[in-house]
């Protein structure tokens, strides 16, 4: 036992005495007779001393240690700590008769030869100004009790003599385990999903910030993850959830709900539909792969669509849980005031079970919560019912006066515990919110603020899950607290948000109606108010939403005032009904479908559904807590150590060689702790106003913790995107940057990053391109240029691409249809920069891929221009042009280099639109022009990124371009 306790302690503490005891209830809570005497009351009582080498002193404390039943003696944890100070006292007495009787049943196990059979009670007291804390313990081991009491007296004597030097800060290590409460409910999703380094104190070279506070943040995070990792038993549980949202417009169920309720293969196929133009969309081509990598590592974009056929089986199997949100269940005014009737709810539950058809008997209602017109219902598979527990509800009004329930939210929180043998798995907390926010286009700010308001007000009562072994907890009052919405592992919002599309009514309808069906959805979503709110962080920051491929769910007409798509002419169509989620990194969430169900026509909205698959790795709860306390002890007190952290870096210089536009290069840096103590490190900027590294460089991870001897690998990535290239193109080619790695409470280390930037024709101004003396790579200095009088009419790079396409492309479909191969694209970009000849298709080889690559490079080059071909101040004018002649007249106002590019390009597009299509082609001539305009208009008339000029209608831009190519 002594060995186990000593190994539990840190090296700076010595065990002075230890003995086995049994606890009774504390004296202020009832008498002794009620105590039970099984394993659960056994404790180890220890007196330990802490040597303070730097002052030559010593401090003592009594620890009461326990171990979970069935665990080995190494798995100790601290229950109570009593510092041996002036407030500490103890007394020993013969045990009372009643207690002795109770002891008799377990007598044999506790008593050993040579020990007295007498039972003694030891009372430990700690007197504070406001209260007295005490413990009463029973032991039979009088010999060890004697050494215990002797040590306590000695240590108290030391304390009394040097009272003013007492500190006891070392004890925080043992009491800090209380911070493991973080395991009792999930960490706020808004915290776990933000990069760790953003939570640290501001720091830069020579100004390290608050290292001690940073150490504790990094350590907390590291221990949490490490404990989870160590407690993971290697298997994971799968949970299928189908969520739905439906604004029923006050209607009672009158149709079969099965399409909405039962996952079909078709749902996922519909969601997987990809626009044929997607592969050439500049938005996709030009996204920065580093950013994607960063976001995915944060778990922020964990929603991925499963295309693999193996997953299709998962899609169509029955969900374990159905959670459905209804809005406008009851539109009557009485409902606002009374809302107690469950008549409507019962009818909907019945309709749901009916809609599940023959599978209905497998399900049972688990929970529901209604607030006026908003109802949330959870239905679970009977076989999995026992997995769901701790169900809590919450509701908050956000309607009239901010409290009435015509708008607002209802929510259900539940814990899901996978079935497991032998261990008690850690539960996963799922929270589902059904909300209905303010209506009308112009109320977007109100909706954003409603979201924040509801996020704050939707709270759940929680009775802390008490460890029944812990008598200390029984002693305290049952602790009640509330937990917020975001203290979940997975949070779903299945909502009628009322967010609209910020485009003119006519534009929205025209874009929805144009062929090929639904191909304009990605464009429309750029104007979606919810997407805008998420991107700007104004609301739903950090939430993921699966790509929308379905038509807007609102508002369908029930009478004659409908348009060709059956939308109500009086209301602009919108995706008002949405399903979003946010999840902790520990849960893998895969979304299998996201669609509307047009067959269900009873309401002015169409119901929306989404299928989710959750993979939760099974964590042994007890093992996790033990691992965490062990790690806490190991890592505590780093900031108190007299040692300084030491690390070794390999290599000290990262040479990236030639650095090309849009060619990702990755190198690794190994960081090893070769010091005596754990080390927390972080990369810092040279200056508070600067970033840690320039835009073309990324490091991951930025923060870390290493125990002595441990080694970690940091990835250093170079990637030059348009924004970096626009600056690098104007600077000397030598790349030289020093990364600063700061070790908390230690040194700053420098790592040199070098490279040779290769100039590119991408990401320049048109005026610069027209004055280059030759191919960009032949320039001797970034200032090399020819006189304005000698400048070429249009950049030769753009002309080279257009000439190639004019010469080689006979079928306009080749511009879009080939597979886009990055290696070919890279090759073509290189030819543009060096002036080399383009690769020619070998005889017999498909021309498609090369044509598609060159067309997409043309789009990329135009899109990379620092200023768009048509200056933003002219966009509004362009849209006013009603005829071909008017449009041509406007060219007089274009800057000269823009006119030349515009004329050459539109001539080419016009030529393409006139090409005779192969007879077997299904597309017609007008479609080709339309399609070319769809691709090129947003690039040539790119919206102003400075916000100086209001973006104009995307349809208008196309029409302007069509004047030239149609």
């Amino acid at each position: 036992m002594e060995a186990a306790v000593q190994s539990f302690l840190r090296s700076s503490e010595d065990l002075k005495a230890a003995l086995e005891v049994e606890v009774t209830q504390p004296q202020e809570h009832g008498d002794l007779s009620s105590s039970s005497t099984d394993d659960r009351s056994r404790r180890i009582l220890a007196v330990v001393s802490h040597r303070m080498d730097y002052v030559g002193g010593e401090e003592g404390s009594v620890l009461i240690l326990k171990r979970p039943p069935g665990h080995s003696i190494e798995d100790l944890s601290v229950e109570v700590v009593y510092p041996i100070s002036g407030s500490f006292s103890f007394s020993v007495a013969q045990a009372r008769r009643t207690t002795l009787d109770l002891r008799a049943s377990v007598g044999e196990t506790g008593a050993t030869l040579g020990q007295s059979r007498t039972e003694l009670t030891l009372t430990i007291k700690y007197e504070l100004a406001t209260e007295i804390r005490s413990h009463t313990l029973i032991t039979r081991d009088t010999r060890k009790l004697q050494s215990f009491t002797a040590e306590c007296r000695r240590l108290k004597g030391i304390f009394t003599r040097n009272e003013f030097d007492a500190d006891f800060s070392w004890l925080s290590l043992y009491t800090q385990e209380s911070s493991l409460k973080s395991f009792s409910s999930p960490i706020d999703l808004r915290t776990v999903n933000i990069p760790l380094h953003t939570r640290l104190s501001p720091a830069s070279a020579g100004l390290p910030g608050d290292d001690a506070a940073d150490i504790s943040i990094v350590r907390e995070n590291w221990i949490y993850n490490k404990a989870v990792e160590e407690a993971s038993i290697g298997s994971s549980a799968r949970l299928l959830i189908r969520t739905g949202t439906f604004n029923v417009n006050g209607k009672m169920p009158s149709q079969d709900l099965s399409p909405w309720l039962r996952p079909t293969k078709r749902d996922s196929e519909k969601s997987g539909w990809i626009s044929p133009l997607k592969s050439i969309s500049p938005l996709d081509i030009l996204s920065n792969p580093i950013d994607e990598q960063v976001t995915s590592s944060l778990g922020a974009s964990s929603a991925t669509l499963a295309h693999a056929s193996s997953n299709n089986n998962a899609n169509i199997s029955d969900p374990d849980l159905l959670v459905l949100g209804f809005q406008e269940l009851d539109l009557s005014t009485e409902a606002l005031l009374y809302a107690t009737s469950t008549v409507k709810e019962d009818a909907w539950v019945e309709a749901i079970l009916a809609g599940l058809g023959e599978r209905g008997i497998l399900y049972e209602k688990l929970a529901s919560k209604q607030l006026v017109g908003m109802l949330i219902i959870a239905i679970a598979k009977k076989a999995r019912l026992s997995c769901f527990g701790d169900i809590r509800f919450s509701a908050a009004g956000a309607g009239i006066m901010g409290i009435m329930g015509n708008k607002g939210a209802t929510a259900i929180r539940m814990s899901y515990t996978p079935l497991a043998q032998e261990i008690s798995p850690s539960p996963t907390v799922l929270t589902f919110v059904n909300a209905h926010l303010a209506a009308f286009d112009e109320m977007v700010e109100r909706r954003n603020s409603d979201f924040h308001d509801l996020s704050r007000r939707l709270v759940f009562d929680q009775t802390d899950e008490l460890d029944s072994n812990s008598y200390a907890n029984i002693a305290s009052e049952t602790s009640r607290r509330t937990v917020g919405l975001f203290e979940s592992d997975v949070l779903f919002w299945m909502v009628h948000l009322n967010y609209r599309i910020d485009l003119a009514d006519g534009d929205v309808r025209e874009l929805l109606a144009s062929s090929p069906g639904a191909s304009n959805i990605p464009l429309l979503l750029k104007y979606d108010q919810l997407k805008t709110a998420i991107a700007s962080g104004k609301a739903f920051a950090g939430f993921s939403e699966h790509a929308i491929t379905h038509m807007p769910s609102y508002r369908y007409a029930s009478n004659t005032s409908e348009d060709s798509l059956r939308y109500d002419r009086k209301r602009k169509p919108a995706w008002t009904d949405r399903i979003l989620h946010m999840s902790a990194p520990s849960v893998r969430v895969t979304q299998h479908s996201y669609c509307t169900h047009p067959q269900i026509t009873m309401s002015d909205h169409r119901p929306v559904s989404a299928d989710f698959e959750l993979n939760v790795s099974t964590i042994d709860k007890q093992r996790r807590e033990l691992a965490a306390s062990k790690l806490y002890r190991e890592l505590w007190g780093v900031e108190q150590s007299s040692n300084t952290p030491k690390i070794k870096l390999q290599p000290m210089t990262l040479d990236f060689g030639k650095v090309y536009y849009r060619r990702l290069i990755r190198q690794t840096l190994s960081i090893q702790n070769d010091g005596q103590i754990p080390c927390v490190y972080r990369f810092v900027a040279a200056d508070a106003e600067q970033a840690i590294c320039p835009q073309w460089l990324k490091i991951d991870p930025v923060v870390g913790l290493l125990r002595p001897g441990e080694l970690s690998t940091t990835t250093v990535t170079v990637f030059v995107d348009n924004s970096s290239a626009s600056r690098l193109n104007l600077a000397p080619p030598r790349l030289d940057f020093t990364l600063i790695l700061h070790t908390a409470l230690g040194k700053d280390y420098f790592i040199s990053v070098t490279g040779e930037y290769q100039y590119t024709c991408f990401a320049n101004k048109l005026t610069r391109l027209t004055r280059l003396p030759g191919p960009v790579r032949t320039m001797k200095s970034p200032n090399d240029r020819i006189h304005a009088r000698q400048s070429v009419n249009a950049p030769r790079e753009i002309m080279t691409l257009i000439n190639w396409l004019m010469t080689h492309v006979t079928d306009p479909n080749d511009l879009f249809n080939g597979p886009l191969e990055e290696s070919i694209c890279m090759n073509i970009r290189e030819c543009l920069d060096t002036g080399d000849q383009f690769p020619f298709p070998q005889s017999g080889e498909e021309r498609g891929p090369l044509a598609t690559a060159i067309a997409s490079i043309l789009v990329q080059l135009l899109d990379s221009l620092v200023d768009p071909v048509v200056p933003p101040y002219l966009h509004a004018r362009c849209l006013q042009m009603t005829s071909r002649d008017e449009a041509f007249e406007l060219l007089d106002e274009f800057p000269p280099e823009s006119v030349n590019v515009w004329i050459s390009l539109t001539a080419f597009l016009h030529y393409m639109a006139l090409q005779k299509l192969p007879s077997q082609s299904s597309t017609d001539q007008a479609d080709i022009a339309e399609r070319l305009a769809t691709v090129f208009a947003p690039v040539l008339l790119r919206d102003d990124s400075t916000g100086l000029h209001t973006p104009v209608s995307p349809i208008g831009k196309r029409k302007f371009l069509l004047h030239f190519i149609g």
């Binding site: 109570v80 003013f164 925080s172 040194k747």
Partner: protein, 207 residues
């Protein structure tokens, strides 16, 4: 109770003149014959007590001397109250480099900065290239503290830091801008006596 002051000190100078060795001698009274070149900046603290019982705590940034890291030096000498610019008495070029650093400090650092010029490697005086007269004359002209030291033998090391401590304005506390946030480890001997009984006691049963 005696007064306590805290100052930020930065070491500058050419590579291999012995900046890190000087700090090691001052802070830990140790010397390594073979020290790796500093690639970065090390942070150390040392307290000196003056005759009047005033204590001065130096927060020392020992910076890399290599030319390629020169652009980062301003990050470390900003807000510094004092600077020790080191040269090697056996290398004439290192004094020239020290002069460059001093000019930069006079131009860009806090105008009230106390600068000490320090000729190191006094134990190698047989190979001396920089005379005492030359260096001290320059220091006088520029209004700098000057002395020669040997990090290896320890000669003159404490004296130069003491001289700096005396020259620093000890009437008012230095600006806290440059001061590093105090870590618990650096304050452990200064226990808040009023806080101790209740704060510690309160944790007693809080497990």
């Amino acid at each position: 109770m005696s007064k306590q002051f805290q100052f930020k000190l930065v070491l500058l100078g050419e590579s291999a003149v012995g900046k890190s060795s000087l700090v090691l001698r001052f802070v830990k009274d140790q010397f390594d014959d073979y020290r790796e070149s500093t690639i970065g900046a090390a942070f150390l603290t040392q307290t000196v007590t003056l005759e009047d019982q005033t204590t001065v705590k130096f927060e020392i940034w020992d910076t890399a001397g290599q030319e390629r890291y020169k652009s980062l030096a301003p990050m470390y000498y900003r807000n510094a109250n004092c600077a020790v610019v080191v040269y090697d008495i056996t290398q004439t070029a290192s004094l020239e480099k020290a002069k460059t650093w001093i000019r930069e400090l006079q131009r860009q650092a806090d105008p009230s900065i106390v600068i000490a010029l320090c000729g190191n490697k006094l134990d190698l005086s047989a190979r001396r290239q920089v005379t005492e007269e030359e260096a001290s004359k320059y220091a006088d002209e520029e209004g700098l503290l000057w002395s020669e030291t040997s990090a290896k033998t320890g000669e003159g090391v404490n004296a130069i830091f003491n001289a700096i401590a005396k020259k620093l304005p000890l009437t008012a506390p230095p600006s806290a801008r440059g001061a590093r946030a105090a870590a618990p480890g650096t304050t452990r001997q200064n226990v808040d006596l009023n806080r101790q009984p209740t704060a510690r006691g309160g944790e007693a049963c809080n497990c």
